[in-house]
């Protein structure tokens, strides 16, 4: 069902370039045929309806081919980070019930290293190199000429299993249906005002929900083009924006910060950009201001946890500091710790209800029941709604610091630190304290040449924040640990 967006676009615009990657230019008709070829190969190898297929690929056209092929064949795409370790793959394979794998020659050794420790895999398809005939070659499959694959799929069938970050306990596989996606893609396209003439630049890993929506589904749904980069490199990004006249760009705040640094040292024409979305983590106000003042670019924040993809920001739905308002058909409420709705404007946990909410977590009915109550998905984000229905996210519930019984939101402290001219990046976490229970500790990456000391930042924060919110310890680091998707990984700082 979701794969229909590709089929329909290929019929309308067969010769339009869907994907640019390195020196490749892949038209929609070719992409659609390759998806049929791969879907056919999966079915011939015994892919059952709703069977799980692990897509373990980095950014590139093969990811998109594989994803749509699995959908078209009636399977469930399990999207995994190719940089995962053997033990992690073992968990994912066992938990999701993967029987087919599409991966690259680079990742293959890690996977084959654990094959004798997981339930039998029916088929491994490998991209990018010789594996001496032991496994099927993706390139060979793509160059076959299979007839169109038409499997009857209903909107409530599962399309994708996406594992959450799993910062507490093991990652949980969020099961998203075709309806979840088709509903949210329509909302995404509408909010982003995506049109055929748009050209997106994809730097965020495609196995992340944010990237899937803005760099794959949305452009394909309207017949736009996407240039895919394998990795984020600010210099390359700026070069591509200029040379390809990129119109839509989505990134995490850390990437926008790195690009700002680069823009300060080299001239780049980024005037083609009409829409820049920041997601995956809170956007520091200073970064927003810098793009607006220096480049007249409005960075719009988006949101939407893996479990309930809710793109709620957009050019006409933007207020500074807000992630926007819910797309039509999605409701949001804010609740207190007793699950009671709080008055407008007050802080509480953000809850989402609508056709975008996942079916549940793979193999975890209790965990599902904890977060989906009467159809409301409890996000674990703390936020508030204003009188116009705009949502402001304050922090993650689990990241909140309790200082002597008083709540401190790390984001508030981080926003304060970002005001300091010497701060390049900052993260605040709670650490144990004998008297207070917890105290805020700041990890700071200084700008090149900066010489500020720990004391300077503590005193700086005191100008803006109540004493209990101010960091009591400051550590300087060369870089902040990040997840594969570019978010600051606070679990490594605690």
């Amino acid at each position: 069902m979701l794969d229909k967006i590709l089929r329909e676009t290929a019929k309308k615009n067969p010769d339009k370039i869907a994907i640019y990657f390195a020196d490749q230019k892949i038209p929609y008709a070719q992409l659609d045929q390759e998806v049929d070829n791969l879907a056919s190969a999966l079915l011939k190898s015994g892919l059952e309806f709703q069977g799980r297929v692990g897509i373990i690929l980095g950014n590139g056209p093969n990811f998109i081919r594989s994803y749509f092929a699995v959908l078209r064949a009636g399977g469930v795409a399990v999207l995994l980070n190719p940089a995962s370790k053997g033990e992690e793959f073992k968990y994912y394979f066992e938990d999701s019930g993967i029987k087919h794998i599409i991966t690259s020659v680079d990742t293959l050794p890690v996977i084959t290293g654990i094959l004798d420790q997981v339930p039998p895999i029916k088929q491994i398809i490998v991209a990018g190199g010789s594996n001496e005939g032991q496994y099927a070659s993706l390139e060979d499959i793509l160059s076959t000429n299979a007839p169109p694959v038409e499997i009857k799929i209903s909107e409530n069938d599962v399309a994708t299993c996406l594992y959450t970050s799993g910062t507490t306990g093991k990652p949980k596989g969020a099961l998203l249906t075709h309806k979840n996606f088709t509903f949210s893609v329509a909302g995404c396209v509408s909010r982003m005002e995506m049109v055929e003439s748009d050209h997106c630049l994809c730097v965020i890993p495609l196995y992340h929900i944010f990237s899937l929506y803005v760099n794959a589904f949305s452009p394909i749904a309207v017949g736009a083009s996407v240039t895919i980069l394998e990795h984020f490199n600010p210099a390359v990004v700026l070069r591509e924006i200029e040379s390809k006249k990129i119109t839509v760009f989505c990134a995490v705040p850390g990437m926008y910060i790195a690009m700002l640094q680069m823009l300060a040292n080299q001239e780049s024409d980024i005037s083609s950009l009409r829409l820049c979305i920041s997601g995956g983590a809170p956007l520091p106000r200073e970064v927003y201001d810098a793009y607006l003042e220096k480049y007249n670019i409005v960075l719009i924040e988006g949101s939407g946890p893996t479990e309930a993809p809710t793109f709620i920001g957009g050019p006409k739905y933007h207020k500074l500091g807000s992630v926007g308002c819910p797309i039509e058909g999605v409701s949001i409420k804010i609740v207190d710790s007793n699950d009671r709705e709080v008055p407008m404007g007050e802080l509480g946990e953000v809850c989402i209800k609508g056709p975008n909410v996942m079916l549940g977590y793979q193999n975890q009915p209790e965990a599902t029941a904890e977060v989906i109550i009467d159809g409301w998905f409890h996000t674990g984000d703390i936020g508030r709604i204003d009188e116009d229905g705009f949502v402001y996210l304050v922090d993650r519930k689990k990241d909140m610091i309790l200082v002597g019984g008083l709540n401190v939101y790390p984001r508030e402290v981080e926003e304060c630190l970002y005001k300091h001219p010497d701060v390049y990046e900052a993260a605040v976490v709670g650490i144990p304290d004998k008297e207070r229970g917890q105290i805020p500790k700041a990890f700071i990456v200084l700008k090149p040449g900066a010489k500020a000391e720990a004391k300077d930042f503590i005193l700086f924060c005191r100008k803006y924040l109540s004493n209990y919110k101010c960091p009591r310890e400051v550590a300087f680091v060369d870089s902040l640990p990040k997840t594969a998707t570019g978010k600051i990984d606070k679990t490594q700082l605690k």
């Binding site: 200082v403 002597g404 008297e435 004391k455 005193l459 004493n467 101010c470």
Partner: protein
């Protein structure tokens, strides 16, 4: 003398800007929260061999207030 000894205690427990003076405010200038006060009181009691009671604590807004309390106990 009292001020110099007090300054050593403050330097050990607090971060502040500029120089300490008798007008330095404990909360606003030293950044103290409610958990710092008991720690400060313990340090003062140990340093000066005095006992500071709750009523005394409630008076402590500036370092001059601290000096006054210490002097009243010596």
């Amino acid at each position: 003398m009292i001020f110099e000894r007090l300054k050593s205690i403050i330097d050990e427990h607090f971060i502040y800007e500029g120089e300490l003076t008798p007008d330095t405010r404990i909360i606003e200038d030293l950044g103290a929260d409610s958990f710092d006060i008991p720690v400060l009181i313990n340090a003062l009691e140990d340093e000066f061999g005095i006992t500071i009671v709750t009523d005394d604590v409630l008076k402590l807004k500036t370092l001059q207030d601290v000096i006054d309390v210490i002097q009243s106990k010596l």
